[in-house]
Amino acid sequence: MSYFIQVVVDGLSNGAIYAAIALAIVLVFRATGLVNFAQGGMAVAATFVAFALTRAGVPVLLALIAAVVFGFVLGGVLERVVMRHFEGGDPDTAVVATIALLVLLTGLSALFFGYEPHPFPSLFPNRTIGFLGAFVSLRSIGTIAVLLVIMAALQLLFRYTKLGLAMRAVADNPQSSALSGLPVSRLLMIGWGLAAALGAIAGVLVAPQLFISPGMLDFVLVYALAAAILGGLDSPVGAVVAAAFIGVVENLAGAYLDFIGDDLKIAVPFVAVIVILIVRPQGLFGRKVTVRV
């Protein structure tokens, strides 16, 4: 039983990381209607800023704050300078532009820090505590807690604030939103900025475990995409639940199904995701879209 709890909590902790990037994907999707592959690249770049600062002796928490600010500016600037150019055009081209940004940011991080992984100090004390007979690391608990706070904040933002309403409107119909006087370009910049800032938090949380390298979040990006789509792409809560589901199912399968083992465990949540999508195409929490012709 205690082993079970440990496996579940570790799964939730992994899921929290997937969820953070998934939330960032949802945020950009809500703000711009695009799936942003550059998400991982922006997060890693911001995490490297934190890395450089901690190496210079800055405390981790301050470095995190700096990374969040850097991420916000980076996201806003990339939207203004690069993505703005592709608005209103073919969405495929815009998505490929985000792929280009991913490659570019990865290359840029490597230019300064190389491709080899570096250790990264943890935000949370490196201790475990007893929990229902299991040993759970404070890092896992801290990661999950931070994530829940972010999720709640985003849900509030979209549901109950004017900014959130405006971002949803712009994502859906930029032209009409402009006619209603919404500052479309500023809202798009804010969307990207918030997403990148969120990525920075995820990067700093996960870096101690994965070691920081330019490709650190490549795999996380895939899980996050799956979680975001499974969650319905426009639902922060859905993305988090889906990410937790993926993290836990994966860990349980790896721990308890011998023929699955560590290498094949990734397949289990993905197969589950496929089955769920086929049964429920709008995702777990997405609103069913009715479109008239």
Binding site: G88, I99, G107, P174, Q175, L230, L264, I266, I278, Q282
Partner: protein, 344 residues
């Protein structure tokens, strides 16, 4: 290009020149060049499949690498069991097509990103599966093969022979695809891409059309896997990673979505840009590739295939516009995202 090849005689002349170049190129090139040219043929077929499902039918696929990998593994299995290459080629087409069709039968009722998600899962599940099924795939080590050596009688070197094999397959695939997209089926692809509800009202089943497009894409992916093994003589789980799929999508858009010529240009881009970037500075390949990708998207949002049109329109813009007409320069504000706007 479009204007130049508009007339039929010119078009035929162009094709003859192309054929002569394709035939002569390997005879005068180094093995290294032939390897690169052959690789372009390999990925051209993979991207062709992707273009059929994405460019022509409008369904995002993030799983093309899985079919490329599947084809390569089937071919490698055939080499191990001494199948004749033609049998391998047939199975490399049929098995991935069946797999693709089964996936599509289950998934094609979905739209947009839900469908993309299912295709995304293929490489994600495929890579660890390839590592695990060691008996079939050689596990993480992959499979090194030595096959498709040049028959003595031809007097060709292995690289030249393999070039001809893959180029012939690619030419056949392109010719078939060209006819397909210009025929009745191509029109149904276009209608489904435009609007599924309208397709229904015109008697075109979006579901069956999407399944067909996916099946063809998977078939071409599998064939490109056969070609991959012919050229590279090695396959491993790395062949089918998700990032290969992503790069194929990027190459397709760079070349030109819904364009046969664009597909070939995209393949050349896919193969050559990393090589060129590596030659400039091998430790900065990603940085340079990313910058080039972005630059092309900025300059040619409709892909490399639009370059002649784009140049022509730049040249045409030179003459002064009619007096009194607003020119782009008088405008003091940025045009809003109005490319979808209707002109009255």
């Amino acid at each position: 290009m479009n204007t130049f090849f508009a007339s039929r005689p010119r078009r035929i002349a162009g094709l003859v020149v192309l054929a002569v170049v394709l035939v002569l190129a390997p005879l005068v090139s180094s093995p290294y060049i032939n390897y690169q040219l052959s690789s372009i043929a390999v990925f051209a077929v993979a991207i062709l499949g992707l273009n059929i499902v994405m460019g022509y039918t409008g369904q995002v696929s993030l799983g093309q690498s899985a079919f490329l990998g599947l084809g390569a593994y089937i071919a490698a299995y055939g080499v191990l069991h001494d199948w004749p290459p033609v049998l391998s080629l047939v199975l490399c087409a049929v098995i991935p097509a069946v797999v693709g069709m089964l996936v599509a039968l289950a998934a094609a009722r979905l739209r947009g990103l839900a469908l993309a998600m299912i295709t995304l899962a293929l490489p994600i599940v495929g890579v660890p599966l390839a590592r695990r099924l060691t008996d079939l795939t050689g596990g993480s080590q992959g499979r090194v093969v030595s096959w498709l050596r040049a028959p003595e009688a031809t007097g060709l070197a292995n690289d030249q022979w393999r070039y001809y094999v893959v180029v012939v397959i690619a030419v056949v695939a392109f010719a078939l695809a060209h006819n397909l997209v210009r025929g009745r089926i191509g029109r149904s692809f276009a209608i489904v891409k435009e609007n599924e509800a309208v397709a229904l009202s015109m008697g075109v089943s979006p579901y069956r059309t999407k399944v067909l497009a996916f099946t063809i894409a998977s078939l071409l992916g599998g064939v490109s896997g056969f070609m991959y093994l012919a050229v590279v003589q090695y396959t491993s789980p790395e062949t089918l990673t998700f990032f290969t799929s992503i790069n194929l999508v990027a190459a397709m858009v760079i070349g030109g979505s819904a364009s046969i010529v664009g597909t070939a240009l995209g393949a050349a881009y896919y193969v050559l840009v990393p090589v060129l970037a590596g030659q400039v500075n091998s430790s900065r390949t990603a940085l340079i590739s990313g910058a080039i990708l972005l630059a092309v998207l900025f300059l040619l949002p409709a892909g490399l295939v639009s370059l002649p049109r784009r140049l022509a329109s730049l040249l045409r813009r030179r003459p002064q516009p009619a007096a009194g007409a607003p020119t782009p320069d008088d405008a003091t504000h940025r045009a809003p995202a109005s490319s979808t706007a209707t002109t009255e």
